[in-house]
């Protein structure tokens, strides 16, 4: 999984938001809200192609969470991004 669409991610208040820019904004409307881990995973998918396992691995490396929680977080985000047609 890789995010190849043109978005900008910024911290606004306590949340992170992803907003389409340039050409992407013509076909994709609105803003996606992310929490801190969501923004972290988003950036990993922006940098390189990822699998569910590789995302779980980077999450475990960066944050103090158990694998079940990390996997649930990854699955939730991936589903939301697929539903939103970002992936």
């Amino acid at each position: 999984m890789r995010i190849d669409k043109d978005f900008t991610i910024q911290k606004v208040g306590v949340s992170f938001v992803a907003v389409p820019v340039g050409e992407t904004s013509k076909n994709f409307h609105g803003m996606i809200r992310l929490n801190e881990t969501g923004a972290f995973l988003w950036n990993k998918m922006k940098e390189a192609d990822q699998t569910e396992d590789s995302l779980v691995a980077v999450l475990l490396e960066e944050y103090d969470v158990d694998e079940a929680t990390a996997r649930a977080d990854v699955q939730k985000l991936v589903k939301a991004l697929k539903d939103g047609k970002v992936l």
Partner: protein, 240 residues
């Protein structure tokens, strides 16, 4: 071609139709210098008119304002789709999804609250000031009712309107503020422009008090909103 001043910024309008010139008459400037100029390409006009469905002169005005609103975030100025009412030199903004009754509520304020008038009924500009305060500005783009004047005033609060069975007003939660306000911002354009707008949004969410007003169409709704926003504006300033 003519120059207008919006929020004190001189802008050169490279128009081809007289519609926008007429629309901007109260904002014309005698200045010769300008910060930037805007024009609409043939392609943009064609797209905006939906292949002739809407008149080109009207579409040119829309396109020019869109360009202006993409550039102004560089001057800490942004568009927020809303209706702004002036009372005693203070600006109060109302935002709602279309059809909820922004215009109706605005008209109620003007009828119910002594001295209330409309600064802009649809597309006002806001400037995020260095000291953290926000200033609201009238613009020539003021909606189908054409409510607006070339004035500015400090912003005292932002209220999100919802249709309700009875009148009730409460402070908006952080969650609501971000979601609801993002709907009213332009948030399009180049990466630089969108990034600047998001940085302004980050400051805006803590710059003024926010409310959710659930209301019926009644003078009581306007009175409740005004009383609450006026009182809290004073408290907010005291706390900050």
């Amino acid at each position: 071609m003519f120059i207008i001043e919006l929020c004190g910024i001189p802008i050169r309008m490279e128009n081809r139709y007289s519609y926008v010139e007429n629309q901007c008459r109260d904002y014309r400037s005698s200045r010769k210098d300008y910060a930037f100029s805007v024009f609409a390409t043939d392609k943009e006009l064609k797209e905006e008119s939906k292949d002739g469905k809407f008149p080109f002169d009207y579409c040119e005005s829309i396109c020019l304002y869109r360009h202006i609103c993409e550039i102004l975030p560089g001057y800490s100025i942004f568009l927020m789709h809303s209706s702004v009412v002036l009372v005693d030199g203070v600006a109060y903004a109302f935002a709602a999804k279309s059809g909820v009754g922004k215009s109706t509520h605005t008209a109620l304020w003007c009828k119910t609250i002594p001295g209330a008038s409309v600064l802009n009924g649809d597309k006002p500009l806001f400037r995020m000031n260095e000291n953290g305060s926000v200033t609201a500005f009238g613009t020539p783009w003021n909606g189908k009712e054409g409510w607006g004047v070339n004035k500015s005033a400090p912003l005292g609060g932002i209220c999100f309107l919802e249709r309700g069975e009875k009148n009730a007003i409460r402070k908006a939660t952080d969650e609501e503020i971000l979601t609801k306000i993002a709907h009213q911002l332009y948030l399009r354009g180049t990466r630089t422009s969108v990034d600047l707008q998001l940085q302004l949004l980050n400051r805006l969410i803590s710059a003024v008090p926010y409310y959710v007003l659930s209301c019926t169409v009644s003078p009581e709704a306007a009175e409740l909103a005004y009383r609450t926003m006026k009182r809290n504006k004073e408290e907010f300033e005291y706390e900050n």
